[in-house]
C-alpha cells in the first residue's frame, strides 16, 4: 500500500511540475469574470447561466487531466524509459498502474476543486450584482452532486487512458483513443435511446442494433455523469439514483484498471 502511495505522490508532484495549477487559476479567474458578465445579458435565468458556465469550466478543467497530462505522464514514462527507474525499486507493475491512476485522479480533484470554489465565488458575485431573487433556484447540494459526478466521469476516462497507454506505445495514439472514447461515451446514450424507439420510415439493421448493444457494455456511458443541467435548475438527484450512478462509475474504473494491470503485466517494456 505504501508503494502505491509513493507512486501517487510522485505522479501528483510530477503533474504539479507541469505548472497546470497556474493555468487552472488563470482559467478560474477568467471563468468567474466571464460567467458573471455573460449572465447579465439574459432575462431571468441568471443563476442557470452562471452555473452552466462554471460547471462546464469545472468539467473542462477535469478533462485536461486525461487528455493532456495523463497520456503525457504515462506514455512518456514508457517512451523515455523513465519507467525503469521506478520499477527498479520494489514497486510491482500493479502498484505502478494503481499509483499512476491515484495520482491522476488526485490531480483532477485538486483542479476541479479550485474551479468549483471559483464557481461559488461567481454565484456570490452574481447575487451581489443582480439580486438574490435570481438565485432562488441555486442549490449547493445539486451543485456538489454535479461536481462529484463530473469528477467521477473524469476518473472513468483516466482509467481508460491507463488502459490505452498499456495497449499502445504511442502517446499520440493513446490521446486519439482517449478522444474517441470520450466522444463515444458522451453519445452512446443518445444512440441507444434512438435505436430503442421505433421510428416510422427508419429501418435499422439487426447487425447495427447488436453492435450498439455490445458497445453499450464496453464503453462507459459518460452522459449519465453529466448533472450540470440538473444542478443549474436545482434538480437534486435522490440518494438511490446518485448511488446507482456512483456505483456504475466506481465498478467501471475497477474493471478498466484490472484490464490495464493484466495487459501491463504481460507487456514487454524493453
Amino acid at each position: 500500500m505504501n508503494n502505491i502511495f509513493a507512486v501517487i505522490s510522485i505522479t501528483f508532484k510530477e503533474g504539479l511540475r507541469q505548472r497546470i495549477l497556474y493555468g487552472v487559476i488563470i482559467s478560474a479567474l477568467f471563468v468567474m469574470f466571464f460567467a458573471v458578465l455573460f449572465s447579465g445579458w439574459f432575462m431571468r435565468d441568471i443563476s442557470k447561466i452562471i452555473l452552466d458556465f462554471c460547471l462546464s469550466a469545472v468539467s473542462v478543467g477535469g478533462l485536461l487531466i486525461p487528455f493532456f497530462l495523463a497520456v503525457n505522464l504515462l506514455s512518456k514514462d514508457i517512451e523515455r524509459k523513465t519507467i525503469y527507474a521506478i520499477l527498479a525499486k520494489p514497486i510491482s507493475r500493479t502498484q505502478y498502474i494503481l499509483g499512476k491512476f491515484g495520482g491522476l485522479i488526485a490531480l483532477a480533484a485538486v483542479v476541479m476543486s479550485i474551479l468549483s470554489a471559483s464557481s461559488l465565488v461567481s454565484v456570490w458575485i452574481g447575487k451581489l450584482l443582480y439580486g438574490a431573487r435570481f438565485f432562488t433556484d441555486f442549490s449547493l447540494l445539486a451543485f456538489t452532486q454535479a461536481v462529484l459526478m463530473s469528477w467521477l466521469s473524469v476518473a472513468v476516462l483516466i482509467a481508460l487512458v491507463v488502459v490505452w497507454c498499456c495497449v499502445t506505445t504511442s502517446a499520440f495514439l493513446a490521446t486519439l483513443l482517449t478522444l474517441f472514447t470520450y466522444i463515444i461515451g458522451q453519445t452512446i446514450d443518445d444512440v441507444v435511446r434512438f435505436l430503442s424507439v421505433d421510428t416510422v420510415g427508419v429501418e435499422i439493421s439487426a447487425t447495427v442494433e447488436k453492435t450498439v448493444q455490445v458497445v453499450k457494455y464496453i464503453f462507459p456511458n459518460l452522459a449519465v455523469f453529466d448533472l450540470k443541467l440538473q444542478a443549474a435548475h436545482n434538480v437534486i438527484l435522490p440518494f438511490g439514483e446518485f448511488t446507482t450512478i456512483g456505483m456504475y462509475g466506481v465498478c467501471y474504473c475497477i474493471v478498466a484498471l484490472s484490464l490495464a494491470v493484466l495487459i501491463f503485466q504481460k507487456r514487454d517494456l524493453a
Binding site: G40, W41, M43, K48, D52, S59, V235
Partner: protein, 285 residues
C-alpha cells in the same frame, strides 16, 4: 541590430492598426450576423444534441445569446424582423429548448416577442405548452397561455382553465389566484395588458428588451387613459365623442398624447382607442 531598431515602430504601428481595424471588423461581422442565426437554427435537434456532448446547457445559452443579440440589434435599429427571420427565431428557440427544456428565458422571449411583435400566437403557444411539460413546478407558462388565449385569441373560457392550473402551482403569486375568477370582469383587455407587461418588466434585466417593454407599456397606459376619458365624456355629455379632438374641446383632455411608436391615436366606433402605428415601430429609412 537594424532589425531590432525597426521592431519598435512596427509593433507600435501594428498596435495602432489593431485599434483602427477593430470597429470595421465589428461592422463586417454585424453585416453577416443574421446569416449566423439562420444556419445554427436549421441544424437538426439530434445532431445538435450529439455535438453538444456534455455542454448542452452552455450551447443553449450561447444560442439564446445570439438570438437576443440579433433581436436587440433590430430594436436598436428600430426595425422589425421580417417573416422569414421570425421563423428562424422560432426554429432557434425550438432548438434551444430541445437542448435545455427547463431553460425559462427562451419561453419568456417567445411570449414577449412572438405574440406582441410578430403576431405568432400559435408558435408562442406551442413553445409554452413545451414549457408546461418541462417546467412542471412553474406557473408562468400557464399564466402566459392564459393571457394569450384571453387577450389575443378572445377565448376567455380556455384562458380561465389555464389560469386555474397556473394558480395551483407552488410559485404562483397571489394575484394569479384571483385573476382566473376575475377574468370575466376584465371588459377592457388593455388593463390586463398593462398588468401583464408590468409583471414581465419586474423580472427583465436586458436593457434592450426592457426598453422595448417600457415603450409598449407607455403606449398601453396612454390608450387606457384615453379610453377612461372617453367613458368620462360619455357620462358627462350622454353621447359618444366623434373623435379625440372632442375630448380636447370639452376640456377633459389637455392634448392628444404622442404615440411612442410614431403613429396617431384615434377613436374607434366601439369607443376603444387604437393607433395608426398599430404599436409597431416604423422602419428606419
Amino acid at each position: 541590430m537594424k532589425i531590432r531598431n525597426l521592431s519598435y515602430p512596427v509593433i507600435i504601428l501594428a498596435a495602432f492598426l489593431t485599434v483602427f481595424f477593430t470597429n470595421p471588423a465589428y461592422n463586417v461581422r454585424g453585416k453577416y450576423l443574421e446569416e449566423t442565426i439562420s444556419h445554427l437554427g436549421n441544424l437538426p435537434t439530434e445532431l445538435l444534441q450529439s455535438v453538444s456532448l456534455e455542454f448542452k446547457g452552455v450551447i443553449a445559452d450561447f444560442l439564446l445569446m445570439k438570438t437576443i443579440s440579433f433581436m436587440g440589434m433590430k430594436i436598436v435599429e428600430q426595425e422589425n424582423p421580417d417573416k422569414e427571420e421570425w421563423q428562424r427565431i422560432n426554429q432557434m428557440l425550438i432548438r434551444i429548448t430541445d437542448l435545455d427544456g427547463r431553460f425559462r428565458d427562451p419561453y419568456v422571449l417567445a411570449e414577449m416577442s412572438f405574440v406582441w411583435q410578430a403576431g405568432m400566437i400559435d408558435e408562442a403557444n406551442i413553445l409554452l405548452e413545451k414549457a408546461v411539460k418541462n417546467r412542471p413546478d412553474d406557473y408562468t407558462p400557464l399564466y402566459f397561455l392564459g393571457f394569450n388565449h384571453f387577450y389575443f385569441l378572445n377565448d376567455a373560457e380556455k384562458a380561465a382553465v389555464y389560469l386555474r392550473q397556473a394558480a395551483l402551482k407552488p410559485n404562483a403569486p397571489d394575484y394569479v389566484k384571483g385573476l382566473a375568477a376575475r377574468f370575466s370582469l376584465y371588459s377592457k383587455q388593455t388593463a390586463l395588458g398593462i398588468l401583464f407587461l408590468e409583471n414581465l418588466l419586474q423580472d427583465t434585466q436586458d436593457k434592450n428588451i426592457r426598453m422595448y417593454l417600457e415603450k409598449r407599456l407607455t403606449a398601453l397606459e396612454i390608450i387606457d387613459s384615453l379610453e377612461k376619458t372617453v367613458i368620462a365624456f360619455r357620462e358627462s355629455f350622454q353621447q359618444m365623442p366623434t373623435s379625440l379632438d372632442d375630448l380636447v374641446r370639452s376640456g377633459l383632455l389637455e392634448n392628444i398624447p404622442a404615440d411612442p411608436y410614431g403613429g396617431t391615436f384615434f377613436l374607434m366606433d366601439n369607443g376603444r382607442i387604437y393607433t395608426t402605428s398599430k404599436l409597431v415601430a416604423p422602419l428606419k429609412k
